[in-house]
Amino acid sequence: MTDKQAHIPRLTIWWMLGALALVVAPHLLRLPVWISALIVACVIWRILIFIGRVGFPNKFLKIMIVFLALPLTVVEYRGSGAGLDAAVCLLILGTVFKLLEMRQRRDMLIVVCLCYVLTMVGFIYSQTILAALHALLTFIVITGALVTLQRDNQRSSLKGNGKLALRLVAQAIPLAIVLFVLVPRIAPLWTMPVPVSPNKTGVTDEMSPGNISSLSRSAELAFRVSFENNAPLQDQMYWRGLVLDFFDGRSWRRAGSAFQSYAMIERFDNRLQGEMQGGAVDYDVILEPTQQSWIYALQLADFDASDIRQDRYYTLHTEKPVTQRYRYKMRSYLRNETDLELSGILRSRALQLPEPDGNPNSHQLAERLRAQSSGDLDYANRVMRYFREQPFYYTLTPPELGEASIDDFLFNSLQGFCEHYASSFVYLMRAAGVPARVVVGYQGGETNPFEGYTMVYQYNAHAWAEIWLEGQGWVRMDPTGAVAPERISEGAQAVLGDQPGFLDDSRFSMMRFRNTEWLNTLRLRLDAMDYAWNRWVVSYDEDLQLQLLEAFFGDRAKQTLLYALGASFLLFFIIAAFFLLGGRKRDMRDQATRLYLRLLVDLADSGLSRRRGEGPLDFANRVAESRPDIAADMTRITALYVRMSYAQDAQDESFGELKEYILALRLRLSSPWRRVVLRNFPAFRT
């Protein structure tokens, strides 16, 4: 019985089952119920086999299980399109099935390897600190299983094996960190169809009454920002997302969004169009996955990243929807002027009103205020004052609006969330001939006192307005600020915290307990940890690597790294070669052996192979018996070789002789064609 067929120690099975449970657990909830059930059933079956209640499944049953599970998986995942989920599912099933036929060491080793792979697969779905800690624990347990497998049974104890596994993993960590930091990040050759997490909505590209206030029910993180120097004031933090400039009487959309294609979004030199006048803020954003292709920044953004485009609304777009955490660096000039000259198409879009327009009262209001004012800016301020002075009420739960939404809101309900104010404000502007548009995004954010970065949550979602003024370009106007100034200056939760409906979707979020001091501290601490993790580990990419290396090695970091890596690989191979080949001096003796062995290969080709353990003299005798024609040559060569190899006084000249004889004999043994090669190309002689 060879080593590989040996039975698995009992302790190992427990370790293995523990490891497998750890590996599979995070997938169980995600997988379809029947697959989870199948997995649990298989594990229970294995335990029953282990304690001797049932036997191993027979061949027929095994085949049945596999042939049932395979098409069922395919059917289950048919609709999803992404092959990744199905592949992961099959991998897990395969691992669990292997458990049922795990009888020998070899099977066990396969399961161990699969467990390692599955642990890594888990990172496709989650890259949080928790996931990393879970993976670490899993590695320790898998390694423990491996340890028990390798150690003999007598010395095995749970504690001892655990300790050794812990030590092995601990020893691997520094190496893993070095590799993580130093190994060049190469863009993947293929893109993984990353699974999309559903139910996550952020700001969308359509604004209708109610859909921003619905975001305030969620305490989900939208993005986190760390400012390089000083963070701007709360009321300056308008995170622009999209500009919506088409109004259909009820909701706002992007103009021409129906035929919006990526080709239309052009990057142009914003230095020409928009004047940057200082107030520069540098910051770094980690955006949670939005499944959308626009990203958020302060006006007016400047950036280096090549995968971000800025369109003529100064909104920013990525090439692909953001399906994973996305990190980008920005510099924004808070004092800026954009579009001092308004092009025809933008102007006409900024003046668009629904046809037919069903808000006559609003039109009247606009005309009245317009008549009183001296200019566009004065008019805008009068409208703002109107919002301030009339009994408008800022609420998360406004009443439903009727057909004529603007009229209904302005003169009837007077209750609304920011989208109502932004919408009606822009409407009033446009009605008076002032170019205006709605901007959606986020406003404000909570500063984490421990790490000094800003967290922006879904409930920070906001809508505001921009109007175009002669000589000033686009100017931001926030009618919500006129109604509920605290919303802008102190943030959403200060105002909304007491309102019914706020954070209703995040019933168990720690955010709800922000008034309990220690829980709030804990929340902020945890978030700070998570942020640091995301910032330095998950989003550690080529750029960050380069930055880090430049800090250590100066400007030529990349080359230095490549040289260093090359050198260390070379060094590794040299050391390995030294250990593998070294120790034996390569002298004439070894060369003689090499020549002799080469002759043996040729002899084996002609049907005379040396038996294992057969000495050269015995072999020569045997050859002499079966091939009298080469007996003399063989005897002479063997005598020389034996002298060279085993005698004390091996002379170097006899090496030349040996070489000659061996070549001669090999020529006699060879085919005519090979003879030519051997004769003319010494390189082929070894």
């Binding site: 294992r612 353990g613 000495g615």
Partner: protein, 305 residues
């Protein structure tokens, strides 16, 4: 020298027909200065071989028949009070000879066995507190019946280890047996052997065998063999360093017998069964029968180079 050795081999071959390999191994053992254990069934010619070996070298020879009631003093000798001188004088036992044939060594008790084996190892005996050297050269040729026979005290591994070689003789082939049957009855004793060499020749041969050179390649081979006995699961335990020294010593002597000045793998292979098999036990062998065929297994599993 080789011719004289061949002549000696042929001379012994006149009484032990068709067993040249065994005779050469026995000679090799003697020249290497080791003790020899001959194991075979009764009547196979063990005693004849021992006798012939002694005579061919002209050695002072004594035979001790081991029985179950033999005591250490019967071998080593005793001090006896003599009335004339009024003192104890030591009467040396039969062991004080150059060559001892310890016949059927495993029929005696372990106590007596170990007395002999101690003498073999030390080259001296201690009786009543006084240490007396044994003659030089000092050889022991022990014969034993196979362990499976009844009425035997098997030698433990530790004592088997002290024999350089263990050989069996085996049944003669039909031709040799016919010749044996045809010859006259009184011819089967070693007394007809003529002396071919003397003690000085033996010493000279021993030093010549010592000069046989060992190349690194050959030592590698020996080490691979030894390592294999220690690593492989086929063996209960591996060869001791004493065992590996014995392999080299015997291989050198064999090379000398073959007329070579250097040892080759074939020399190692020739002596390997005799030198290692009584020191090894197959892992499947729970009863402690040290194994034959293990050496062949070793030879076929270890690469020569």
């Amino acid at each position: 020298m080789q011719q004289r050795i061949q002549a000696a081999v042929d001379e012994i071959g006149t009484v032990l027909l068709g067993k040249e390999q065994q005779i050469r191994l026995a000679l090799c053992c003697l020249i290497a200065g080791g003790h020899l254990l001959i194991e075979d069934l009764p009547g196979m010619g063990k005693t004849t071989l021992a006798h012939a070996l002694a005579r061919v070298f002209g050695l002072d020879f004594n035979r001790i028949q081991f029985t179950s009631d033999l005591l250490p003093a019967d071998i080593l000798g005793v001090s006896i009070f003599e009335q004339q001188s009024g003192a104890f004088t030591f009467h040396p036992g039969p062991i004080f000879r150059q060559m001892i044939l310890a016949d059927e060594i495993n029929r005696t008790t372990p106590k007596t066995q170990s007395a002999l084996l101690e003498a073999m190892e030390e080259g001296q005996v201690t009786v009543e507190g006084e240490t007396r050297p044994l003659p030089s050269p000092f050889f022991v040729i022990a014969t034993q019946n196979p362990v499976s026979l009844s009425g035997t005290f098997p030698l433990p591994e530790s004592q088997l280890d002290r024999f350089l070689m263990r050989i069996g003789i085996g049944y003669p082939d039909p031709k040799a047996e016919r010749a044996l049957l045809e010859r006259s009855a009184e011819f089967d004793r070693g007394d007809f052997i003529t002396q071919m060499m003397n003690v000085d020749d033996l010493v000279a041969m021993r030093s010549a065998a010592n000069r046989v050179s060992l190349s690194p390649l050959l030592l590698d081979y020996v080490q691979r063999i030894v390592a294999h006995t220690r690593d492989s699961e086929a063996f209960h335990f591996g060869l001791s360093p004493r065992g590996s020294i014995a392999v080299v010593r015997a291989a050198k002597t064999w090379a000398f017998l073959e007329g070579r000045e250097h040892a080759v793998p074939e020399d190692v292979q020739a002596i390997l069964p005799a030198v290692v098999e009584h020191r090894l036990r197959a892992s499947t062998d729970a009863e402690g029968r040290t194994g034959s065929a293990l050496a062949h297994r070793l030879m076929s599993e270890v690469d020569v180079f």
